[in-house]
Amino acid sequence: MDYREYITPQMQQKWFESVNNKFNYYFIIEFEGKQVGLINAKNFSYENGFGEGGIFIWDNDYINSFAAVFSTLCLLNFVFFKVKLCKLSHARILNDNDRAIHYNQLTGYKLVAGQEGIYNQLYELSIEDYIKNGSKLNKAAEQLNNGDGELICTGTISENNLDEINNVLKN
C-alpha cells in the first residue's frame, strides 16, 4: 500500500466515487464464515487488462491462513477464465515488501521492464504465466477444500458492472 497518510471523510468519499464504477471491483473476503479482508482488481481497460490488483487481510488471525491465497486464485480465475475479460493483470508492490514480492512471483507475476530502480514497482501477470503457475495451485486448493474446482459467481446485475460481468451473473 503506497498511500499511508491520514485521510478525511471527504477524501474517503471522493475516493469511493472515483472507484464506484464498472472499471473497479472490490470484494470482501469471507473465510470460515468471517469477513477477514478485501481483494480488488482496479483500473480495468480492454487494452491493458486490470491496471492493479491488491489484497488486504485486516484480521491478524488470518494473515497466515489460506484466506489470502484462495481469494487471490478466485479473483484471477474470475478475470481470466470466468469472465474472460483480459489476458493481463498488474500489481504495484513496494520494492522493500519481500513478502508481497514473493507472493506475487509465486503466482507468476513478473517485474515489468524498466521498473528496477523504482520504489513502487509495477508487476505484470499474463494469462500464460498464470496457467503455468496457477494450475498446480488451483489443484491443491481444490483438494484442500474437497471441491470440484468450479468457481461460483453470484451478485447483482448493475450498470456499474461491465457487460461481461453482468452476463456471467445472468447465467
Partner: protein, 78 residues
C-alpha cells in the same frame, strides 16, 4: 527419493530461491517472504511428486523440512 533430492526439488518450486537455502532442519515457515502461497505450493509439490494429498492439519503438524519429508514417507508406507 532421498531427503537431499526432496530438498532440491522443493527449492526449485520457490521462485528465485538460491540452491542450498533449505536444510533438513530448516523451519520452512521462516523462509524469506513466507506466506500461505508457499504452503499451497508445498501441498501441490507433494501431490505432484508423491501422489499424496496433504490437509491443512497435516501441514500444521510439521515444522521443519525433515518433518515434511518424514510425513511423506509415513503416508507412503501407510
Amino acid at each position: 527419493m532421498s531427503i537431499n533430492e526432496f530438498i532440491q526439488k522443493l527449492e526449485a518450486e520457490f521462485e528465485d530461491m538460491p540452491q542450498g537455502t533449505l536444510k533438513a532442519e530448516t523451519d520452512y515457515r521462516s523462509i524469506k517472504g513466507w506466506s500461505s502461497m508457499h504452503a499451497l505450493i508445498i501441498i501441490a509439490f507433494i501431490d505432484i511428486n508423491f501422489n499424496i494429498t496433504l490437509s491443512g492439519a497435516d501441514l500444521k503438524s510439521t515444522q521443519t523440512v525433515q518433518d515434511l519429508y518424514n510425513l511423506v514417507q509415513q503416508k507412503k508406507s501407510a
